[in-house]
Amino acid sequence: MENVDIVINSLVSGVLLGGVLALAALGLSIVLGVMGLVNLAHGELLIAGGYLMVFVMQPLGLSSLLALPLVAVLMAALAWPLQRYMLQPLADKPPESAMMTTFGLSIVLQNVYIMLFHADTRSIQFGNGVSSIQIGPVGFGRIYLIGFVLSIVVILAVHFLISRTAFGRDLRASASDPVAAAVNGVDVRRVHGWTFALGAACAGVGGVLIGSIFAFTPISGATYLLNAFAIVVLGGLGNIFGTLVGGLLLGVLQSLGGLMLGDGYRDLVGLVLLLLMLALRPQGLLGRKGG
């Protein structure tokens, strides 16, 4: 019976963690789906959220819940000029150029973090106390639940934004046929700017939550980037619910992998999954072909 308990614990924390992972991947998914941009600096954007929280929000004494939307807004504000002045001018070049530029950005950001914040490991204190919750045989840190709930809220909010608002219509139209969208009055360049900002905002918030659950360093971004990629490929690009499902799945698989093979294998699980998906079914479990 004890083994079953451990497995159930593992599953539950996997699901909860998966929600947070899904949020962390959301920004990447949207940007890739709408702009066709592989943002290799996505991991660094996640970490940026973490640093914003530690060095800006907490010193200001803001409560964690209030700080989150502020982090989102700040990330959007910082990301918008990046897209406008660094990526937009590359619109006429082949897509590798934009991707390599984000790669350059990730190198710059990583090292700027090291210069400003040093290579120390940091973590975020979210809310009061790190108490655990115990429901029957299942126990997990309270932060897992908070993280999960907040992630779901944000994911649903973004889904609402994309599927019910005028901006969301513009975004979806730009993603499937930018020329036809422009002819129908959509300012596609502006949509791209906002999309990138939205992606960065989601990444920032996701980063805060991840930073509350795990510690992070200036170079943690790469691992999270690949995890996010695995989720995006699992769920199909630009597909919000797909990203959620992908995240939950990855969370569970990571948990089980860690349980069965050892903790060091958690990240490996994600990578192997990514490679398998890319090779066998790049459109994702839920996606359509031609992504």
Partner: protein, 340 residues
Amino acid sequence: MQTQIKPAAHADAAACRTIAYSVVLLAVVGFPIVVPGALSSYGFEVGFRLLLLMTLAEAWNLLAGYGGLVSLGTASFFGAGGYMLMGLMNFAGLPVLPALLASAVAGAALAALVSPAVFRLKGLYFTVGTLALAEAIRLFMINTSYFGGATGWFAVVDPPSVQVLYLWAWVLFVFATIVLSLYVSSRLSIALKAVRDDEAAADQVGVRVFRVKLLAFMTASALMAMAGGLQAVKLGAIEPYGMFGISWSVDVLSVVIIGGIGLRAGPLVGTVFIVALSEWLADYPDVHLAITGLILIVVIRCAPQGLTGLAISLWRRRNGRRTQTGRADAAGAQSALERG
């Protein structure tokens, strides 16, 4: 990614130039070996690094510049070569040269193994896939005690002196240069260029696309693996972070793009520049890397042909070849208009 600017009418002149520069380069780089005491021990260290990076850059340029296969997985083959060499030297007692050749085989074999999966990935997915591969291998090695886990392996034999290592690095670099030169003037390079330019059209005219890509991939991977092997010899102790670390993939990519991707001299120019920069900023490694990233961004935007490309167009302009540049520019501008 673009290729040589020079029109082929001047192909012969270009070939001569390349040969001349190569000879000069090899001489300059080789002379410290011949003239003992010309460089301090530290100089040889830097030289070793320079030559190793040049070898890697040439290999990466073959893949990404000539083949259009932008890979972030250099570390996979580098590390594979290193471990293969160390393993053979430690457990089979092989001397360096056969072990080095074996590591080349290891690199090529790994490339062949992953190619069916990795070549299915088109465009940007290929890049992400290679990145994932490198990371996956690294994590795997950390967790597998058979390969020494996170601690890795220690060489049974002491590493040779830095002068000897420099010599070997020089030999490897010469070998890589020869391979690249042979390749660039062969019929394979024409097929690969066609695949890079327009895979569907190449397919339609009968090119065996998979084989062409595979050959380039295996060649590049073998060279990368040999570089990894040499690094292993030098270090005397290898572990996953150092051998499969992403920094190898990052450095190589930066070097080639800044130097000039797809150009024969690109990797050389880029390596010299980056190594010089890192020596100058040796006390501030983060600043050095941050600046490298910035230069990368700027180069992609303003000088897509890298430093070499800039040099070529400056030289052309000075020699009054305005018409050639003009036509190339016009065509480039027009192709930007060619949007459906």
